[in-house]
Symmetry: C2
Subunit: 397 residues, 2 copies
Amino acid sequence: MQKYYELSRKEWFSQPRIVAGVMTGTSLDGIDTAIARFYNRDNRHSLEVLGTCFEPYSSILRDKISAIIEKKRPISDTAELQMELAFAYSTAIQNMTAKANIPLELIDAVGIHGQTVWHSPPKKNKTGVTLQLANGSALSQMLGITVVSDFRTADVAAGGQGAPLVPIFDAEFFRSSNLSVGLLNIGGISNITFLPPHSSDDPIKAFDTGPGNMLIDAASLQFFGKKFDENGALAKEGTLIPGLLQRCLEHPFILKQPPKSTGREDFGRKFLEQMLGSIRLPATPGEDIIRTMTEFTAESIARNIMRFGSEIQIIIASGGGVNNQTLMQCLALRLGNISLTTSEKYSGISSDFKEAVCFAYLAYRTIGGLPGNIPSVTGASKSCILGSISFPLPFIH
Amino acid sequence: MQKYYELSRKEWFSQPRIVAGVMTGTSLDGIDTAIARFYNRDNRHSLEVLGTCFEPYSSILRDKISAIIEKKRPISDTAELQMELAFAYSTAIQNMTAKANIPLELIDAVGIHGQTVWHSPPKKNKTGVTLQLANGSALSQMLGITVVSDFRTADVAAGGQGAPLVPIFDAEFFRSSNLSVGLLNIGGISNITFLPPHSSDDPIKAFDTGPGNMLIDAASLQFFGKKFDENGALAKEGTLIPGLLQRCLEHPFILKQPPKSTGREDFGRKFLEQMLGSIRLPATPGEDIIRTMTEFTAESIARNIMRFGSEIQIIIASGGGVNNQTLMQCLALRLGNISLTTSEKYSGISSDFKEAVCFAYLAYRTIGGLPGNIPSVTGASKSCILGSISFPLPFIH
């Protein structure tokens, strides 16, 4: 039986679509927005990025998110936050499209990741649970644009980790005809996608490798009151503390068999406190701690590549961590013959906004009725259409 | 510019659709499900109810919901609850459709209200906030059926109360050509819709009147350990305490100008405690308290009808409160010349399941791109397509 939505799918893909994407990562720094035009030709997609923008969270909003994640807050706080986030996203999108000179009326859809406030992937005998806040229905009303939200839950409901979701974007836009490509995103958490060349039958693999900027940020805040280590300058001044690095590397997640995903639960402030408490550190300079967290982050990424993707020939990095030169140098040193470049240099898609573009693309797929997860990557039992669609104003007034 | 979804809308309404609805009210008793076939003819809709079922919440699940509503719980509890509710709804729908002998493959969509855990309508200088838990995307994956969820947020985002949403259902299926009809739903909270005859230009009005079964249930639990006053038997044995009734009637919500909506925040266990604490009640039988709460509930409904809908000729009641004979008698006495009947007697749509059928209908409208709110009723600044749509398996496998 042909379902009514198969007809709308054909229509959706019959012409280029302009879709905005909104990413807010675990680092709680702010809102990345991007807008792109997507083209469909014989079921192969291409894209053109039309604009990007970063809008920092206000300190009030950041504190509210932190309070909900870390403390016992009444449900009213959660209810308010999902609406406040919709407002913040609405403003961010309007600022971005104004900057890019694109009228809102021309935008076909918006895909929002939402702010992850809880992520607990499935375990033995326990179903997974994930929660990204920001109300898609409210945002749709605020903007007058169709919104797709809540991308991770469908995969989790199908037994998957709900992450990573970038691989289908990577496979569509970064896969090479002859090279084995590794796509590394260094956000709060780091994740990697292994793309065998088009000629290969190997499956696409992708997973979180462990911390991204999260521990470096936490240490920068604790020792210098800075939100992050700009350009890796603090780490550059520090000296590695081998015992502390060793202790960190004992975390079982690092060499856990993929598929796997992680979050602030594993590598948040608590982890840093535990690590610092676990060894004697008399009068250690803060730079040394930051250096060690930087080396740990690089080492955890490199170990995952060496263990699970030894065939990789090139690593294309993206995410905020790319701006941390010390981290990138530490990583390059550990990768040996594998060359390390950035998304920006390789494809012109800005490192900082790749995930925002990805969520625009996932929305483009969802509205067209295409799956967004890769079961070999997330561990889900099936391909799923990801997210929920909220329509704006009624079609006939 | 014609949008792609206008085409799918035409297709959606081109044939009868089978849609299930799920309602879980503030009384936390369990899950009402209903399934109906909807027909469209010249943009007028008709329906045929195919089955209904009630599935009580397990005491574990009920306790989890209460804990989240009443106490400070970490966000993980909220994240888990939204998934657990999706499971519970999935089971309830499967049981209902098995009983009605309808294969899941024949169901076009499911509309779920979700469990309200917070509802705070807009106030002066303060945006409204509402949160109904139960993840639509997860439920869609579990059932393999398109799901519409989160119906109230769009209206709240448009400045409305987010409630009541039943009036568009009432207007479509209960409006009379020559009578002024009042539709009363007695759930945890009571709400009423005033439907002028088709010939009239008067706007449709609807609003919450105050408590429904909520206070009666709370008193039954406190004094007799019973979840509710079955058939109103306890109230029947009791005697009205005039001072207590008087005190209750002072609540400013009762005669507040519509549009207005309320919830457990106003008339929950706390209100009962406050009322009981406010007057001297030496050795008062529990039956008297329940009697007084029953009279207060009837009186608050009647005062709203007399004050704001004096043209009404017939009241059609639905919701669990219809089974409370004492409440219905108290109400009939107070309504004078206005006749009181039930949804079941008037239309064949079971009182207990009218709201579940309503959410099936709202989903039918949302997928077809029709608005579901009535701005004159909710106070919203515009008509909105309500909810978010989650699609099941990809269209092409």
